[in-house]
Symmetry: C2
Subunit: 417 residues, 2 copies
């Protein structure tokens, strides 16, 4: 493939994770090293920063701070939820992107995100190909939801899973401290795929986790829930822990959170329902059935930004994913997403592979049906064998006064050539 010399831009999109900045660190540090990449830009708020010519010159940043990005949660450049129209219907944004790419001689476009972001990345890639503007486009995955197609797992999942499993074990001990019954419902993020909710099964595997786990993969049946929770209550002398995905829905597709409130009726710009209140609603149901004390705990934003309880493998792989996206692009690859391929065998090993963007855009990977126990409220050993190696080593940011020292970027605005 021909040599391509020009500038590179990187953007972060969608809900952040505690390692999305590790990928940013990998992209930036590798791109700054590459001779074919002249300038390295970081887009403020993803694609919107490019449309608005609002991006930073990364060469102005201190290398120490770029290194600290590895353990800094959230999207340091700012994120965005912005859906590009079909270019056949409305090509306004695409024309503007092309204009900006030309103005700043952008020849490398790296985009870091989940399903919706890979859709954006794919559309940009196809448009640039169509117009004949030479530009290498690479997707870098991330999502605590772990639902991207074709990759063994997603950057961000393991750290969120380690936090959720650890906190679940801690709550397990706290929630059974009194000599009176108590039902505790843990609400975990995950719209359509239950991978993160399933991570509570790692706590159960250690004998300190939920009695019942409800995933969005299995239609939620309220009568069965009442029966399940009553049985667990009787079996465990009134101490019950339940984990439920925020995206749990009944067979008609109605979210449990919709049972409770009208909040879910507001839609965000991708047409997803705004979720919330699933745990609180089920806690009230349990209270009605059992008449005991109940408590709902929502891991909320905490689960996706808990860099202090991250996974070392996740941090290292996320950095590597960013690095390799740059290396592949410079070597001539375009229109691909980097992905993880796990080696066969007992020992955990993982390498980077490539997937076509059109394959991954908008395709969701759910938990295999045979990894869910027949009663629909637990995970099999296959899931434990899959997930446990990913969280096997801790990661935490460097400390200053006992508190995390996160990266501080200067964010010097870029100027055209």
């Amino acid at each position: 493939m021909a040599k391509l010399v020009g500038n590179a831009i990187f953007g972060q999109s969608g809900g952040p994770t505690s390692v999305i900045n590790a990928s940013a660190s990998g992209v930036f540090q590798e791109a700054l090293k590459q001779n074919d990449i002249l300038k390295v830009y970081g887009a403020a708020n993803g694609i919107r920063g490019i449309l608005e010519e609002n991006f930073y010159d990364i060469s102005e940043e201190d290398i120490e701070e770029l290194n600290l990005l590895k353990t800094t949660p959230s999207s340091a450049l700012g994120s965005v939820r912005y859906k590009l129209a079909d270019s056949a219907v409305d090509d306004t944004d695409y024309k503007r992107l092309l204009e900006v790419f030309k103005k700043y001689n952008i020849r490398y476009f790296f985009y870091n995100g989940g399903n919706d972001s890979m859709d954006t990345c794919n559309k940009v890639s196809k448009y640039m190909q169509k117009t004949g503007y030479e530009c290498r486009v690479m997707g870098v995955p991330k999502t605590i939801d772990n639902d991207l197609f074709g990759t063994d797992h997603c950057p961000g999942y393991a750290s969120a899973a380690r936090y959720v499993a650890t906190s679940t074990m801690e709550v397990y001990h706290d929630a059974r401290v009194y000599d009176s019954p108590m039902v505790c419902i843990l609400e975990v993020m995950g719209r359509n795929a239950g991978w993160l909710t399933a991570s509570t099964a790692l706590a159960a595997y250690k004998g300190q986790g939920p009695d019942l786990i409800y995933l969005p993969e299995i239609p939620f049946d309220m009568d069965k829930f009442k029966k399940d929770v009553k049985e667990a209550y009787d079996k465990n002398k009134g101490k019950v822990i339940v984990a439920v995905s925020e995206g749990a829905k009944d067979k008609s597709g109605k979210y449990i959170s919709e049972y409770a409130s009208d909040l879910a009726k507001t839609k965000d710009s991708f047409g997803h329902a705004q979720l919330g209140g699933t745990g609180a609603y089920l806690a009230n149901v349990a209270k009605e059935v059992l008449g005991c004390k109940v408590r709902a705990i929502e891991f909320s934003l905490l689960q996706r930004c808990a860099a202090h309880c991250g996974s070392k493998i996740d941090v290292e792989e996320s950095f590597l994913a960013g690095q390799m996206a740059v290396k592949y692009a410079v070597q001539g690859t375009t229109d691909c997403m980097v992905a993880y391929k796990r080696a066969e065998g007992k020992e955990y090993k993982c390498e980077i592979m490539l997937l076509n963007l059109s394959e991954v855009a908008n395709t969701e990977k759910k938990i295999p049906a045979d990894w869910i126990t027949p009663d629909g409220t637990g995970l099999t050993q296959d899931f434990i064998d899959y997930a446990l190696p990913l969280i096997s080593e801790p990661s935490a940011p460097p400390m200053e006064d006992g508190l995390p020292r996160f990266a501080k970027l200067k964010k010097v605005l870029a100027k055209p050539e």
Copy 2:
């Protein structure tokens, strides 16, 4: 003081912390070493376990597991909220306690808890004195609320504070990730004293914390809140973080949580209102005022059991507090609570002192008025200087598969002599 030979019993009471078991570890390991203490018992669910003759023989436990208690959250023996009547009005429980003490030759009684538990401890001590039954009674403090009288700080506070400050810093980054306004309300535990809510000021001190902090020490004024949040919104381009104590109340003494729901009308056995929903209520108020996206995050049980994000000083001091309670008792001290005395000077040093139980029972220590900024929504440097040394070093449990390895006790039921 005369030598006193007999058995010892230890109980845990009130809401657990992530280091209450560190004190248990200190009491158990020291008591097992002392020649004057023959048998060491752990009461199941505090005072109730004694009343019901439901306690464990600690000599049956493995020393490794007793050591792991140092970093195991929650109350390993089980806790209780049980208020002893005034013995002058109803001495049923006291007579029963004396009966059990005699039956098991209990001559040492160690009780670990907060305000209400020190009240229990004090009542037991005074009753035993009155009846002439020789028994040394020692209180060991604990409370994430940090509101016990006479001690520089309380075991459990620093670990909860480190978790809350760390998580607040992480949420600070996550909650400002999009290019649209967002008000995020963090709800922190603390009924009448705002020490734990104030720990979010440590995050603010690092430039990554709340814009506004509402403590129960300052009467909550809804109109002022609306004005404050609007000002912060305008100043920070729509990104606002608020920390509020679950116990925030208006000048009439009405809890903010009571504004929202009738939940708060149910009372627990100590007559405290059941709190909850303060953050969610204020998030809705902010939404009404500003019309932007809002989110309420409740640290809930997570903040009091997060041993994975503990304070090393807290763990070590809590262990020492348990140890010293036993040493003092064997040397002849009774009717006291062990407490912390901080040395003057810049370097952090702390030693164990003694306080009379009647001094500490039911007395609450609040944040000094001059440590709160004049606008009532921040903490001064005096607070930072007080709290920062307490969280300066991390503590985490040993790991197994990347997950915490918590203590597993055998809990062999004790039999009378």
